[in-house]
Every structure is written in C-alpha cells, then in structure tokens.
C-alpha cells in the first residue's frame, strides 16, 4: 500500500515537447497551423503572386521586371479594357438584380405548402448543379443565329420572319448572356433565401394578420427585415461570382462580337494566356479587387450583425 502511494506521488517525466504542449498559446498555434498552411499555399500565395505579377511586365516564360503601376495606367487608356469594364458592370448589375428579384419570388413561391413540394425544390436546383460548361453549350445552340430553338418557335407561331441575330448584335449578345447567367443563378438565391424563410417563426405572420396586415404588408414588415442580412450576404456572394464569370462568356461568344461581351475574366485570359502578357492580364484581374473588397466588407458586416 505504502509502495503504491509512493508510486502515485512520483512526478511524471517532463519533456520540452510536453511542456510546450501545455502552453495554450503554443497548442492553439499548432492546432490552426494546418489550416493556415492550406490557406497560405492555396489562397494567399496565388493572390500575392497575382498582385506581384500585375506590377511587372512578365510574359509567358519570362519572369519580367517591376514596372510599378504601368500596366494599370496602360489599361486605363485602353479602349477594349474600358469596354470590358462597362460590360462587366452592366452584366453583373443587371444579372444580380434580376437573380435577386426572381430568386426571392421563387423562394416565396416554394415556401408554401403544396403537393410535390420536395420534388419542385429539388428540381429548382438543376440549373445550379449542371456544370456551367454544359449549360453554356446549350445556350450556344439556343442562341445560334440559324438554329435557335427560340427563333424556330417564334417563326412557327408567325411572330418572327427570318433569323434573330442573338450573338451578332452587341446589345442583343449582352442581353442573351445576361439571360443565361440569370437562368443559372436563380437557384442560388432561391435556395439560400428559402432556407432563411423557413427560419421565420409563423407566429410573427399570425401576429401581423391579427393586426390586419395583408400579404404585401406582411412581406415588407416581417419577411424583408428578417431576411435582409441573409439577402445581402447571398447578393454579395452572387456579385462576386458574376463579376468573375468566365465560362459562359468564353463558350458562347469568346467576348465577341467586336469585344461587346468581354468581361474582366475573359479579357484577362485573352491578354495573359493567349496573348502571352501575363503582367497585363494580372492587372486586369486586379481591377476586380476594389469591387470584391467592397463585397467582402459588406458580407462581413452583415454576417457579424447576423
């Protein structure tokens, strides 16, 4: 017995490692280090490399030298870049607003009780889960000047004679791409906002009804204020994705006709990879940064408030 007590009192051997691990600052640092390593390698390094390249005259296979803001100054005077800036603003602005309005409407619609609700909610996701390149190819055919199914239907019912020049006319091409992006992006809003709608307590609507509120007043007084933080976050994420869109435009128009549908992403690819001017391409991508930073700050603000 006495021997047992003596053994229990004997202090455990302490190594430097175990002592360090007992320090909560060290243990905390070690615990987050894998995540930091991943973020550093896959996010921070490419980001800072891109930022550095935008300040150089790097070409493919040539590292280049530091040129300050020369690329940015050059682009500022470039007519094609200015057009791409306009296109990106128009594309993102119109598409995001339409996706918000239509996505919100769809969320409200499927938030009701009806037969086949689950099936409809699952089907709603289809445009979102189909690979972008695949849906872009479908739109490539839908907008074909000679083979368009839309034109075919309109001709069959006698509304149109001849062809519709979807991708040959600058404004029609922009509208066609926005429509395709909206079709694809609606489910993102609808599902996100539907999840939010499901968290709104029915008692709030009941209370509003007792107070004599109609459908419109219930929306403005209950639904909208409660969903506003989530709506802002979803809108911000959608804006980020829309501003950085590439696949849809590249497959359907490649930025044509005459650069009328070039976005930052497609122009950056054309200049950096096809043209070989990596530094300039990185600078084009860099012009997206202010927009994206504002979006991220907004998202942080509302996420924290939420």
């Amino acid at each position: 017995m006495a021997r047992v007590e003596a053994a229990a009192r004997r202090p455990l051997p302490r190594t430097l490692g175990s002592e360090l691990l007992e320090n909560r600052h060290v243990l905390g640092g070690l615990s987050v280090s894998p995540a930091l390593l991943l973020l550093g390698v896959f996010l921070a390094y490419p980001f800072f490399l891109g930022a550095w390249l935008s300040l150089t005259d790097a070409r493919i296979a040539h590292p280049g030298r530091f040129v300050g803001v020369e690329n940015f100054a050059y682009l500022w005077g470039d007519q094609v870049f200015r057009l791409a800036t306009f296109n990106t603003a128009l594309y993102a602005g119109v598409a995001v607003v339409l996706k918000l309005v239509l996505g919100f409407s769809l969320a409200l619609l499927v938030n009701r009780e009806f037969r086949g609700k689950r099936f409809v909610r699952a089907a709603m996701l289809l445009p979102w889960i189909v690979p972008t390149s695949l849906s872009a190819l479908v739109f490539y055919w839908i907008y074909d000047s000679q083979w368009s199914v839309i034109t075919w239907m309109l001709r069959r019912v006698g509304l149109v004679e001849g062809f519709i020049n979807y991708l040959g006319d600058p404004n029609l091409a922009r509208a066609s791409l926005i429509a395709a992006n909206v079709w694809r992006g609606i489910p993102f809003f609808a599902i996100g906002l539907l999840a939010g709608l499901q968290t709104v307590s029915p008692t709030l609507y009941e209370a509003a009804e007792i107070d004599g509120a109609g459908a419109w007043q219930k929306f403005w007084a209950v639904t909208w204020p409660l969903l506003l933080p989530l709506t802002v976050v979803v809108t911000v994420f959608s804006t980020i994705m829309t501003v950085g869109d590439f696949q849809l435009v590249w497959i359907v128009t490649r930025g044509g006709p005459a650069n009328a549908t070039h976005l930052f992403g497609t122009l950056a690819y054309q200049r950096a990879i096809q043209g070989g001017y990596i530094g300039e391409g990185a600078a084009i991508a860099g012009f997206m940064l202010p927009v994206l930073i504002v979006c991220v700050l907004l998202a942080f603000h509302y996420l924290r408030r939420d």
């Binding site: 094609v80 600058p170 091409a173 128009t253 650069n259 200049r271 070989g276």
Partner: protein, 456 residues
C-alpha cells in the same frame, strides 16, 4: 522515295558530324557535276541522316485534336512505327487546337511538360530561348524535299536566335467552299478552273448568289481560324497591312485599308444575318445545311459531307481564294509547327521523331489519309497522291505556297501573336462592316490598338 526503306532493318545512325560530312560531299559534287546529278547525290546522302538517340529515351508529344477522323489513327500509326524502329516509346496527348498554346505556355513557364509540341502560328517565337534549335533538321528536310515555301521559313526561323526554332508541319489550308448548283443558278460556271479569280469577279458572284436567295457566310465573331484568315486576306489583297517590315511602324491607317473595308462592306451585304457572332463551327453547319452558298473553310466540310451528306459532297467544290488589286495571292491559313522544349532530356530523340513524321512515307501517308486537310510546307509534297486523286482536294494543295504569315509585313513574334490573339484585324472589319463604326473610325481604333501592342 522511302526514308523508311532507307533506314529499315539496318538501324544505321549517322551523327550530325556525318550529316555535315555528307552535306560537304554534296557541295563538292555541286562544283564538279551538273545540278541534277548533284541533287541526286545530296538526296541520297541526306536520306541517311538521323540523330543519335539518347539511351532510355521516351517522348511526350502534345498536339491539336484531330479535325478529320483519319488524322489521329494515321498519326499514331506513324508514331508506333517510330517506336518499333527506334525503341523509343511515344505518348501523344491531344488538346483542342485553341488550348494547345495555354498548355505549352504553362510548360514553358515551369520548365516541365511535353518534349514536343505541335502547335500553331508563332508560338515558338513567344518563348524562343526555351527551345531546342532545329536548324540542322530544317535544313536537312528543306534540302531533301525541294525546299520550304516562304511562309514556313518565316514561321520557323527566329531572327533573334539566328536559328530555326520551329519545324513547319503544314497548314490546314482554306479555300472557297461553294455549292455548284447555286453558283450555276447565279449564272456562273461552277468549274473551279473558271471560278472568279479576282476580288471584283468574286463580288459579282456573291451578289448574284445573294440575289438568288443564296447568301454567302464569312465568320466575323471571335473565330480564331475562319475570321482571322479571311479578314487578313482581304486586308492584304488591297495592299493594307498592320505593320511595316521594321515591326515598329504601324501602317494600318492607309488608303489601301480603306479600300479593303469598303469592299468588305459590299461583300457583307451578300452574307447571311448573324455572321458577326459566328465562331469557327458556324459556317460549317450553315454550309452543310444549305443555308449559305459559299464560305471560306478547310477541307473539313467536304470530309464530313463525303461521309454523312453525300448529296452535299457531290454538289460542292473548292476554289482558290481570289486575288485582290495587289495582283498576287495574299492568303492566310492556319499554320501548324512543331517545337522541342529545351528542358527535354532527349532532344535528339525528339528531333528524330520530327524527322520521321516529316519523311516522305510517313508524311504522305498522313496527309493522304486526311484527304489533304494539312497542306504541305515542303515543295516536294506538291506531288502527293491526294492532290491528284480527288480534284475537289486539289485547290488545297497550294495553300502554303499562296499564304503570307499573319505578321505580314513584319515577322512573327510576341507582338504579332498578341495582335492576332486580340482579334485586332477581325474587330476592325466587324465594326466597319456591321456599321457600328465608320470605316475611318474602325481603322483609327485598330491603329490605336496596334500602336499600343507593338509599343508594349
């Protein structure tokens, strides 16, 4: 002529020194014998050339995906024959033709990837110092097969390195594809020999076709192949050019360019609506569907028609692209050339592979199987069977002989690559022809863009 036979069984390899010795013997013969005998001697000596292959060599080849279904099997048959003969395994990787450059660019940047790239246009000039010089191989092939045409020489040779850095493979050449019945109905003779040879006659034909309800169709969207080729042709046909031979002076703003665009506007009136948004596949589809009577394209339409639309194949034909006021052919074609990255561990094996595929037996087999989809860069191959057996393929025979490099009047390099990648000439035509800009404004816009590109 059979290089395969020349090497068959003996596996006799002769080093570069022996090749030079053979060349020297040929030169001595030039002084002593008449030209014909010298050529025979030189060819006989040259046939024995091969590059000493490194021990344990293997090769990765990156090339463009096939446009015609007989391309890949034949190319791989040639590669397999190379492996049987040399013991060097060859892996061939395929990419969509517009994706070859991005992949090659990545390889050039990181210094790892395929040993050989069979790419496009002036790719080698984007990274000239990353490549294995190919002067010995190019001179050998040129000497053996009647010499290179002018455009391949410009594409393959780097003035900066004073060496060949690309090995021209050939041009998926373009010709005017037309429906004979529609041309006949428009009052013109559909015989290719009597097809309009000048831009004026050509415009008259196009107008007559349009008047009969059979519009023409030329891509004006971001069609890398179809739009770049016909707009450059038209610009040069009237004497316009983007840049002077010094590669610095922008010369696009000229009366010749105005004339080209004015002509283009008249030609545009004969086109089907929607061409401003056309990418490369559009004109193929429209032609096969009978929506257009005439377009510019490679032999791929005819190839598909022969297999799937025999009635279209019977009714279609090809003709040379017309000559403009400058009085000589000014065609631009897609142009493919191979290059070897310097990071390869097996430069000799890579050169030997390129030599192998360009030798008579292999090259003839490949081009004949493709029904002439690739037009040869070496004069000797004008006698290939495909150019004789099917008269409808014959106009493609002369594609490389009639072409100018896209950098004209400058030389291929990073600036010309960028100008084409950015569709500067296509955009100028698209804006002027569709009326979005006046002819003058379209030219000024192109001039500004070119000035920035060539100054950068």
């Amino acid at each position: 002529m059979s290089s395969e036979g020349g090497h068959g069984g003996g596996s006799r390899r002769i080093s570069r020194r022996r090749f030079l010795e053979a060349g020297a013997a040929g030169l001595a013969g030039l002084a002593l014998t008449k030209v014909g005998l010298d050529r025979t001697l030189r060819e006989a000596a040259a046939q024995d050339v091969s590059f000493p292959i490194e021990r344990g060599a293997s090769l990765r080849v990156l090339r463009w995906s096939q446009f015609v279904t007989t391309d890949r099997p034949t190319f791989e048959q040639n590669a397999a024959a190379f492996t049987r003969r040399t013991g060097v395994p060859v892996t061939v990787e395929y990419e969509t033709w517009t994706d070859v450059q991005p992949k090659a660019a990545a390889a050039a940047s990181v210094g790892a990837g395929p040993d050989i790239v069979i790419g496009w246009f002036d790719e080698p000039h984007l990274w000239p110092d990353k490549l294995v010089p190919l002067t010995d191989l190019a001179e050998y092939l040129g000497g053996k097969y009647g010499g290179w045409f002018d455009a391949p020489r410009q594409y393959g040779f780097s003035a900066a390195r004073r060496a060949w850095i690309g090995l021209p493979i050939g041009a998926p050449g373009l010709a005017i594809n037309y429906r004979e019945s529609m041309v006949r109905a428009a009052g013109f003779d559909p015989d290719p020999a009597k097809f309009p040879k000048t831009t004026d006659e050509f415009l008259r034909l196009c107008r007559a076709l349009r008047a009969r309800g059979n519009p023409t169709g030329f891509a004006l969207g971001k069609a890398v192949g179809d739009a770049n080729t016909w707009t450059h042709w038209l610009l040069w046909a009237f004497g316009g050019q983007a840049v002077a031979p010094d590669n610095r002076t922008i010369t696009i703003n000229s009366p010749e360019t105005v004339n080209a665009l004015e002509y283009g506007r008249q030609l545009y009136e004969t086109m089907i609506p929607g061409v401003a948004g056309w990418l490369d596949p559009h004109n193929n589809r429209a032609f096969l569907a009978g929506e257009i009577s005439l377009t510019n394209n490679g032999i791929s339409i005819y190839f598909v028609a022969r297999n799937e639309f025999p009635e279209v194949a019977r009714d279609m034909n090809h003709a040379h692209i017309p000559v403009g006021p400058v009085g000589r052919p000014t065609e631009l074609h897609l142009f493919s050339q191979a290059y070897i990255f310097a990071y390869t561990r097996y430069p000799n094996a890579a050169k030997e592979f390129l030599r192998w595929i360009m030798e008579d037996v292999q090259y003839s087999r490949w081009v004949n199987a493709m029904l002439g989809y690739v037009s040869h860069p070496l004069r000797h191959y004008s006698g290939l069977a495909v150019w004789r057996t099917d008269p409808k393929a014959t106009p493609f025979r002369d594609a490389v002989a009639r072409m100018l490099p896209h950098s004209h009047a400058g030389t291929p390099g990073p600036h010309s690559a960028r100008a084409m990648a950015e569709f500067v000439i296509v955009d100028m035509f698209a804006e002027a022809l569709t009326g979005r800009r006046s002819v003058r404004d379209a030219i000024r816009a192109a001039e500004e863009r070119l000035a920035r590109i060539y100054r950068a």
